[in-house]
């Protein structure tokens, strides 16, 4: 177990830039743009800023706070907490995608694998430490940073409200930061298990490819979809193309996006809310993150089939890691 701790630390040391600084700069950029947007509104007058404030529905929130609609404003704050997480999750997808593809390839390419293999660390522990890093460590860091950024945002709102002679505390009291914290935290294990097929597939490509793991990881699922399309065009028995592209190929790559298991209708509504900014149905969004709703995903066969496929691919990765030491570059 001690060895495992050091292995995960090792991953953090190597990838601090991706795991910590990427979400940090994304949230910092959002915060700065929000502050700029608010300043602009104050200087230039009302209703010109919805584009400047970059994802944060500031107009609506400020209107609700000004008009004393505390319940709505509180829900608005909860939605914004979720949005900070969504933005971090988008960047996390890219970080994880390239992290996983390089995890068992880069050290073969620069031959440092010979150093790692000269230590009494099993290949199983090595591979599992990378799974744990991608599935748990990186999302937890991203979540922590999104939370800090949200606290920063609350500070900005409070200052703004005080400047307008409004007491910000009743608004914050009507939001539900601690409940949201736990709800968002509880999605981390669900994300991790849902992502297992992508984790397994990307790591397998990383351990297997003699060069260009990216091409292997993307082209094989793509070719499978195309071939299946031909087979079905010829009238031969084939998979439904929707099933193959969404539930197999898509899942092998995109399931590392946190929350990609969420019921599509919920996602669409959140997206609409974010883009139009018209009706912030905070209650609905918060409800979508209700643990009983979230953990209902375990009732889907897709979850369990994915877990099984992920475990098989991770086992294949460990097997591959034992044998393949060279890369052709």
């Amino acid at each position: 177990m001690n060895t495992f701790k050091w292995l995960v630390k090792r991953e953090y040391w190597e990838h601090r830039g991706g795991f910590m600084w990427t979400p940090f700069w994304v949230t910092t950029a959002v915060l700065i743009l929000t502050i700029l947007g608010i300043t602009w509104t104050e200087v230039a007058g009302r209703r010109v800023t919805s584009h400047l404030s970059f994802g944060i529905p500031w107009d609506q929130l400020s209107a609700q706070i000004s008009s004393g609609d505390l319940v709505q404003a509180g829900q608005g704050l909860d939605v914004i907490y979720v949005m900070f997480n969504l933005m971090v999750c988008v960047s996390l997808f890219f970080v994880l995608f390239f992290y996983l593809l390089g995890a068992l390839y880069d050290d073969r390419k620069d031959r440092s694998v010979l150093f790692w293999k000269s230590l009494p660390v099993s290949d199983t522990a090595t591979v599992l430490s990378k799974v744990a890093t991608a599935a748990v460590l990186a999302p937890l860091i991203a979540f922590a940073i999104a939370t800090v950024a949200y606290v920063g945002f609350l500070l900005v709102v409070s200052i703004w409200a005080s400047l307008h002679g409004i007491n910000p505390l009743p608004v914050i009291a009507n939001s539900n930061p601690f409940g949201m914290f736990w709800r968002l935290l509880l999605t981390v294990p669900v994300n991790a298990l849902w992502a297992l097929p992508a984790l397994g597939w990307l790591l397998l490509c990383s351990a297997f490819a003699r060069s260009k793991p990216f091409l292997w990881a993307v082209l094989i699922p793509l070719l499978a979809v195309i071939l299946n399309g031909w087979v079905s065009a010829m009238g031969l028995p084939s998979f439904s193309s929707k099933f193959l592209s969404n539930d197999v190929a898509g899942r092998m790559i995109f399931s590392i996006i946190p929350g990609s298991w969420i019921d599509k209708s919920d996602v669409v509504r959140v997206g609409e809310m974010a883009s139009s900014g018209s009706s912030l149905d905070g209650a609905r969004l918060v409800n979508a993150l209700n643990p009983s709703h979230v953990y209902a995903v375990f009732a889907q066969p897709a979850m369990w089939i994915g877990i099984a496929a992920g475990v098989v691919m991770i086992a294949a990765t460990i097997w591959m890691r034992r044998r393949r030491i060279e890369s052709s570059v």
């Binding site: 630390k9 040391w13 010979l114 150093f115 790692w116 000269s118 230590l119 009494p120 099993s122």
Partner: protein
């Protein structure tokens, strides 16, 4: 208890083979390396040195029987690596790692690593804890690697071209440090290098490998008994040639013949006797390798 330990085989290979496609990188070699030896594994490029080392370290599949410290490297690599260290040429340390992180990591995962020893070795160098490998020269990287490895109380140390690309100052200190501060009777070192002349005075045993086969395996003492060089003046050269020397070269108008297993007394009649250098022996043994 077992105070007087019998010299036991650290590496024991029987009919060890390894094929890449149809070419045999190792062609059924038998090999025994005993405790407390410093063994030079010498061979031309592509002879199978690295393949043999990889098999010993559990980094490659192979056919035949191989036991290292009583373990099977194929499926007991993790256990084996507690007692075996290796340095596979320079520049295999990950480029992103800092000195501090490398020491912490090895200390964290290696049960036989001594942080105190490692820090003592590092204190003799210019390396500071915050330095990253990518900021170091080749010589500094090898200093770090050596400090890490020498702080591990291992039974077997494998060095594959450890001084490749280093300048002469680093090369000299590398072997001196190894010999003075690391080696003792309980340890065994296997080293491959192309700079044979630099290690010949530290070796206790020599193995020549050629085309996946062992061309020569003997202790340095036995080699000194068996191989003798004679410096012969031109008028006696033909007579010497008739004795089947394995090599002949000219220097200052005289011929130098290398003989294998000819009694010393017989050879003394032809001229001055000399101890052949490993590189001369190597050239004689490997004649025609690239032809």
């Amino acid at each position: 208890m077992n105070a007087v330990t019998q010299p036991q085989a650290v590496v024991q290979a029987t009919n060890l083979s390894k094929h890449y496609g149809k070419t045999a990188a190792l062609d059924g070699i038998d090999l025994t390396i005993e405790e407390g030896r410093i063994v030079g594994l010498i061979g031309p490029n592509g002879a199978g040195k690295t393949t043999a080392l990889k098999a010993i370290l559990g980094l490659a599949e192979f056919e035949g029987k191989l036991s290292v410290l009583g373990l099977d490297p194929r499926n007991q690599r993790t256990e084996l690596m507690k007692q075996v260290c290796f340095i596979a040429d320079v520049a295999v340390l990950p480029r992103w790692i800092k000195v501090r992180e490398a020491v912490d990591f090895v200390a964290g995962v290696h049960p036989r690593f001594s942080r105190e020893k490692c820090m003592a070795f590092l204190a003799r160098t210019k390396l500071n804890p915050a330095l990253r490998v990518r900021e170091m020269s080749k010589g500094m990287i090898v200093q770090l690697h050596l400090a890490l490895v020498m702080a591990i109380d291992a039974k077997l140390l494998v060095l594959d071209e450890p001084t490749l690309g280093l300048d002469i100052l680093y090369r000299k200190t590398f072997y001196e440090t190894l010999l003075n501060d690391y080696f003792d009777e309980q340890k065994t070192i296997i080293v491959t290098t192309h700079q044979v002349e630099e290690i010949e005075h530290i070796l206790t045993d020599l193995i020549f490998i050629r085309d996946g086969k062992i061309a020569l395996s003997a202790s340095m003492d036995a080699i000194a008994e068996r191989y003798i060089e004679v410096m012969v003046s031109p008028e006696r050269a033909d007579a010497a040639r008739a004795m089947n020397p394995i090599n002949e070269r000219q220097i200052f108008g005289k011929s130098i013949f290398l003989f294998d297993g000819v009694p010393r007394a017989t050879l003394a009649e032809f001229g001055e006797l000399r101890k052949p250098s490993i590189s001369d022996l190597f050239v004689a043994t490997m004649k025609g390798t690239y032809a």
